[in-house]
Symmetry: C2
Subunit: 299 residues, 2 copies
């Protein structure tokens, strides 16, 4: 059975692979690395890329932390005794320069407790500034293909989970076109730890091919000032989701995580216009109309 | 004894006065008004000003809402029976064009419950992009003067409350130079309802003279690209405070308030740079060094 040390080592290697792929696809910017240590145990390797040819700001973060489980987390799990935890994962958010290239987020993680419980979580979701049906279909097809190699129930289940999770309730709109999201994936009669880990590896390794595809395909599409402005507005909503709703961000900030690593997800620049209304019949209106749950992009 | 209807009417008039003063001081932009109704009772008059001579984006919001108290609020007050509430207030956030003019926030509010309890709350705090000691002293002196007319204990108490409230814990820095903040101000042996209301009026009416003073005084101070960039970074922190920590914002978003009115506090444009570090000895470094609790600006 795979150990936490092996999972940690795998995630470090995944971070390396992804950074190399993104640097190659960008062709200009390179990642800056910051190592950080957590007093209570563990630390991380934050890698941030800024001002590239394609990427305006992005982070590929690895961390492996351990120690006594925080009271808030114990309470949320209904645990009364003190428990030690070990958590490791890779988290990514990329904000491209062009409004024609989508924002992407990916996370894979493993969590283990001293009482013997362990689980995997993760997901990938895409936030195009302008939704292109063909791109949305291709994206969801890649995720379905990755899921189907492991369990045919995964894609429909985790796609719905993403719709529900990446949702700005206060705007009544999804963050983007969703993707997949999963948490608390534990062993059971049908799934061994190795099988779960193989699925998480599949998702982690699908990130670079998916995003570099969009980088290559869309980076040279011309865009106007109007489209750049809409990108800034959509980034404002991205900020709202991450600061108001995202559980990982909230938990990190509340438990004194490394703020600069947690908030690498913030866009380089964002805009808010009071009561923005898209022009009737415009591409902006079309995109806003597609920010809802339950769309079957593979139809 | 002053009634809720009279307080509501006063706040509406205060909104009118403040909007008139700001329009006059700006000299270009005027407020747009949106009336909104709340299904469960009451509504508001949202007024937003954008793209002025001095003001880039600002809101002066009036609301008066009533109905059954939300479960979350009942629970937070330790109430088990259903209670009706009435709440009215004026809320303001102004983001100026120039980094030499400070961001300001003001709020005055009154809350009453069907079980007979009622209280006032409010505050004013200033977020200069660059802290100028003389301006900070003047600002705090105005607040102290206003407080001292009513109770000598108010300024020290409410100044400390503002330091604690307008604090970005995840950054370990105050939002700006603070000001005053107060909540749950109820009648007692020494304070009648009319006296409390007179104090709240004093604070509400001190807003326009204070902010138009800074508008006039600082609007023509020249600034550079570097200073504009720093303004965008400081606005990023303003976003973080409002979305992560501000109780009013969180409560509004959680209880299905009017999102566009609540998020009028968002700046027109904001920026995030990974691990920003001010140049040693720079004005930026000086300002960042002053973003801490407990500074006596009147010293």
């Amino acid at each position: 059975m795979i150990t936490k040390a092996e999972i940690k080592t795998y995630f470090e290697g995944l971070q390396d692979q992804i950074c190399a792929s993104l640097e190659q696809a960008d062709g200009k910017a390179t990642f800056r690395e910051d190592l950080w240590h957590r007093e209570a145990g563990g630390g991380g390797r934050s890698r941030v890329i800024q001002e590239g040819n394609v990427i305006e700001k992005g982070g590929v973060m690895f961390s492996a932390v351990w120690g006594g489980l925080h009271e808030k987390m114990l309470a949320s799990m209904g645990l009364t005794e003190k428990v030690d935890f070990f958590a490791t994962g890779v988290s990514i958010v990329i904000h491209p320069i062009s409004p024609m290239v989508p924002i992407i987020h990916m996370n894979v993680r493993y969590f283990e407790m001293s009482n013997g419980a362990f689980w995997f979580g993760g997901g990938i979701d895409l936030t195009p500034h302008y939704i292109v049906d063909e791109d949305a279909r291709w994206f969801h097809q890649q995720l379905k293909n990755a899921c189907d190699k492991h369990d045919f129930s995964y894609y429909p289940k985790f796609k719905t989970w993403a719709d529900d999770y990446f949702f700005n309730t206060h705007r009544n709109e999804t963050r983007g076109i969703g993707g997949i999201f999963f948490d608390y994936q534990k062993t059971d009669d049908t799934r061994t730890k190795d099988q779960l880990f193989n699925f998480v590896k599949e998702i982690g390794e699908s990130f670079a091919p998916i995003y570099t595809y969009f980088m290559e395909k869309n980076k040279d599409i011309p865009f106007t000032e109007k489209e750049k402005t809409f990108q800034l507005l959509r980034r404002g909503r991205y900020v709202e989701f991450n600061l108001v709703h995202d559980r990982g961000t909230k938990f990190g900030l509340e438990t004194n995580g490394r703020t600069e690593s947690i908030l690498m997800s913030m866009p380089p620049m964002a805009q808010w216009v009071y009561d923005y209304q898209a022009v009737e019949g415009s591409e902006e209106e079309r995109t806003l109309g597609l920010l809802k749950k339950g769309i079957d992009w593979l139809e």
